[in-house]
């Protein structure tokens, strides 16, 4: 009976107090997507590079209210 109590308390401790989310976040943060898209510096560099190669997509002739 005593052992059951100890085991039960240990299990409850694990479920309630261990921040499981931390492990999930760890996996999430490791991806290249996350590392780049959460860094303004990296995004500025990348979008500047894109802007050099990609032509304008909006016509200057658009006028009036849509």
């Amino acid at each position: 009976m005593k052992y059951f109590k100890v085991i039960g308390m240990a299990a409850a401790f694990c479920l309630v107090l261990i921040p499981w989310n931390t492990f999930l976040c760890q996996a999430y943060e490791d991806t290249q997507c996350f590392q780049c898209h959460t860094s303004a510096k990296k995004l500025i560099e990348a979008t500047r590079e894109i802007a050099k190669t990609r032509p304008t997509v909006k016509s200057a002739e658009t006028s009036g209210e849509g």
């Binding site: 989310n21 999430y28 991806t31 290249q32 997507c33 016509s59 658009t62």
Partner: protein
Amino acid sequence: MEPLAPHEKIFVDIDIVDDENHGEIACHECHGGNPDDPNWKTAHKGVVKDPTYPDATAACGDCHDEINENYQKSLHVSLRPYKLIMDKRASTNTVIRNKLGCAMNTHCSECHASCGQCHISRPNSVEGGFLDGHLFQKKPPMQEVCTACHGSRIQKEYLGEHEGLLPSIHKKKYMKCDKCHTGEEMHGNGKDYAHRYDVENGPKCVDCHKEIYKREAKNVITHRIHKEKASCHVCHSQPYNNCSACHVGKDEKGLAFFKTKSSWFDFKIGFNPLKSEKRPEKFVTLRHVPADKKTFDFYVKDALSNFDTLPTWKLATPHNIRLKTTQNASCNACHGNESLFLLEKDVEDNEKGANKNVLVPVNLIPKKQKWQPK
């Protein structure tokens, strides 16, 4: 609304990992691409910018199954009424209709919403960009989503952005769009509606103003007299924005453009073109829409040869409601006041045929009243 800087559009807030509902979903599970590739150029191969359009099943359907079942028929996604209207106005010639279809795909079909373009980013039609670092927004923010598209009419009216006009009283009460236009309305209920005014769970003034016809209500006589004669907006809206003559084409670089002529604030009462059990009123407010016989001339001449089948002055529900307005100041502020009604002289010659059923002949304008309720 100013577009976001390119890097701002795709900046992800680190707090997304704390989102208990979406934080466990890795980027590539919805967007594709290679999450292990350190070279962003090759890592983005196969990336889907908006995985919720045209089909959101894979991205959202597992959890939001009820919404996913119906949203394809939401008018914000299907644009069905728009297509039906063009169908009615279009020539019956198959070759012309096909060319019109191509033109519409280029210019009109882009203006749709998706799960992502309301709850995660600004709509594509206003150049997109995350609303708040890709954090999921249960209620889309009004000015970055709703009025980003519904700007020239609804926003200006609701916020009172036109000189001399007041904002809607509902704005003064701090009401956002979703107070009347619920998520259920936006997400669709599986029915293929032909018009936005047919939507069963669309807003009705009496949903909130339940008491107006009750004996003890203020102005009960006026409300009872006008019930089914005039829509709420006839008495309670201020002048609203009207648009004209939209033309589309492609520039020298092959980029699509549109041009509209003037827009103007006006207030016109006419006959209800969409009389139904839900909207039985004889008189309603009418708005001129930017429809034009020559809208698609760049692609094909006479595309809208049946233009006169539908009015260009359409049933409108302006979003600038006030309790007291110029036309409801007294009975005779409206009765016998020709300037408030859409008369033949107010309509362009080439649109008279289209609007014949909504124009009010002078002899049918409600007569001046001798008796006035207190």
